[in-house]
């Protein structure tokens, strides 16, 4: 059986700087993987490598056993909402419809009726249909995040990749978003990249810890030793559902990123 996502010895360098070093990762179909690690630890780079936005310096990536360029329609991408200009003149429905633009550029392209039906069905599923004509600046952070999830889903992917889906939303939206992802996980493989893991780690069925190297991959029980390696400081991981907090005082310089 081939894995949904498989990375073999992937390294990425920015100039002389190692962003990722010999990462090997296998994500089984149907899993709900959390990739955690400190800011600057290469999480977003890892995501972009899987998406094909960054070419790895060395190593090999397979999606369901195929190379990336044969699998673009298998991945739905949900970027961070902080990347966006919220004032941009685009409606919710138009954002979601973007997902149907894939493949070759076609002149005089119009969205087909089935594209619009698909987009509206996903919006309905995520309880966003009543907002479809709204300009995205007039949404809350949680709503915009779900709009981006809707767009990722409208690609009809088998894998959903999310970058910090709760970085800019309040606590109640955070649990709402993770419940939604848990629900979607019944049909899809989901990979979430986040630095805010203690608050949400109870939802994942496996965890990977990333800080330049991949330190742990497997079930979601982490020991203190691993988290110290990854974060450079002891972190409380056991208290599921509680906000991340730090055990002991630690040197300022060590964790500087």
């Amino acid at each position: 059986m081939s894995y949904a996502v498989e990375l073999k010895d992937v390294s990425v360098k920015y100039g002389n700087l190692d962003a990722l070093k010999n990462i090997s990762l296998q994500v089984a179909e149907g899993s709900f993987l959390g990739v955690i690690g400190p800011n600057g630890g290469g999480k977003t780079t890892l995501l972009k490598v899987i998406l094909g936005l960054i070419e790895p310096t060395t190593g090999d990536i397979k999606i369901f056993g195929h190379p990336l360029d044969q699998a673009v329609d298998k991945i739905g991408y949900v970027p961070q909402i902080s990347n966006f200009d919220r004032n941009f003149p685009i409606s919710v429905l138009d954002v979601v419809l973007m997902a149907r633009l894939g493949g070759r550029v076609r002149f005089f392209h119009q969205y087909k009726k089935e594209d619009i039906e698909k987009a509206e069905a996903v919006l309905e599923q995520l309880n966003l249909l009543q907002l479809k004509d709204r300009q995205i600046g007039k949404l809350s952070g949680g709503q915009l995040q779900r709009v981006l999830i809707a767009r990722g889903l409208t690609v009809e992917p088998e894998i959903l990749l999310l970058d910090e889906p709760t970085a800019n939303v309040d606590a109640s939206s955070t649990s709402q978003i993770y419940q939604l992802l848990k629900e979607l996980n019944k049909e899809k493989t989901i990979i979430v990249v986040t630095h805010d893991m203690a608050a949400v780690s109870s939802y994942f069925d496996s965890l990977a810890c990333l800080n330049e190297k991949l330190y742990h991959h497997g079930d979601k029980q982490l020991d203190q030793h691993t988290t110290e390696q990854v974060f450079g400081c002891p972190v409380d991981l056991i208290a599921h559902g509680h906000p991340h907090h730090v055990f002991e005082p630690h040197g300022e310089g060590e964790n500087d990123d």
């Binding site: 998406l51 094909g52 936005l53 970027p79 003149p89 409606s91 973007m98 894939g102 550029v105």
Partner: protein, 268 residues
């Protein structure tokens, strides 16, 4: 003035130039403003002055030189920008002044009396010639076709090019194409408002239009209409009172924009 437009060729040329410039500034201006490429466009515009100087030196039509320089500059900026990532303002600044310097140098090398370059710097709608109108018309038609036929892609590109790339759409091609169109728009506008003032005509109409609607297509449409109003105000004043048309166009545009901001605000 209507009489003059009907009877004199220079007024007909001015009329067509105003219409074409408004279309160019409405379409490309909207894209520039929404993609935050205003300073980059300023850099491309000023680089094209090098082409004007070269045109005088080699005794070819200066506007063709400007076109070549603008396209070359936009593609160069696009590719260097991709290499160095963000922070392209230094790069834009370099092109900006390098282009101007080359222009001055080339004009200095040109034998005989120095040519009058102020119409290229500040525009003069009453001196637009028939050949200019034909060139402007061809470029405008190309631009309308390019934007309308790929409209959904442009919209997606402006909002989130990374997502398009993930979908397997070559967004680099779109970017290069966009940069060429910026160069084209600048060439269309040079005759009307000049290199120095081109930025304001590209930005004021779309920025003002943005205050009135949340829809990209409507912003473009409204920006074209506002561009027409501004251009004709410039044409009118320069016809009746012999005022410099480029300056009048820009001042009207700026007054309208600041007035709109004051009235509409955007603090909702």
């Amino acid at each position: 003035m209507i009489d003059a437009i009907l009877n004199y060729q220079f007024m007909q040329n001015a009329f067509f130039a105003a219409v074409l410039a408004s279309i160019a500034c409405g379409l490309i201006g909207t894209i520039i403003v929404e993609k935050k490429l205003v300073m980059l466009s300023g850099g491309i515009a000023h680089t094209s002055f090098g082409g004007i100087g070269l045109g005088y030196l080699l005794n070819i039509e200066p506007i063709y030189g400007a076109f070549a320089f603008a396209v070359a500059a936009s593609l160069a900026i696009a590719s260097i920008r991709r290499k160095i990532g963000t922070g392209s303002d230094t790069l834009i600044g370099m092109f900006w002044s390098l282009g101007m310097s080359l222009g001055v140098l080339f004009i200095g090398f040109t034998p005989g009396y120095p040519p009058d370059i102020s119409s290229y710097l500040f525009g003069d709608i009453l001196t637009v010639r028939r050949v200019d109108v034909w060139l402007m018309a061809a470029l405008t038609i190309f631009m309308i076709t390019a934007i309308s036929s790929l409209f959904n892609y442009w919209k997606a590109y402006l909002f989130d090019e990374e997502f398009l790339q993930v979908l397997g759409v070559k967004s680099n091609l779109l970017e290069n194409f966009l940069f060429i169109m910026i160069a084209i728009a600048i060439v269309i506008l040079i005759r009307v408002v000049g290199i120095v003032l081109v930025i304001a005509l590209l930005t004021a109409p779309p920025a003002a239009a943005r205050l009135y609607t949340d829809d990209l297509k409507k912003i473009m449409g409204l920006a074209v209409i506002l561009g027409l109003v501004f251009s004709f105000s410039g044409l009118t004043f320069s016809y009746y009172y012999d005022l410099p048309s480029g300056a009048v166009i820009i001042i009207t545009a700026a007054i309208f924009y600041f007035g709109s901001v004051a009235v509409k605000g955007r603090n909702d």
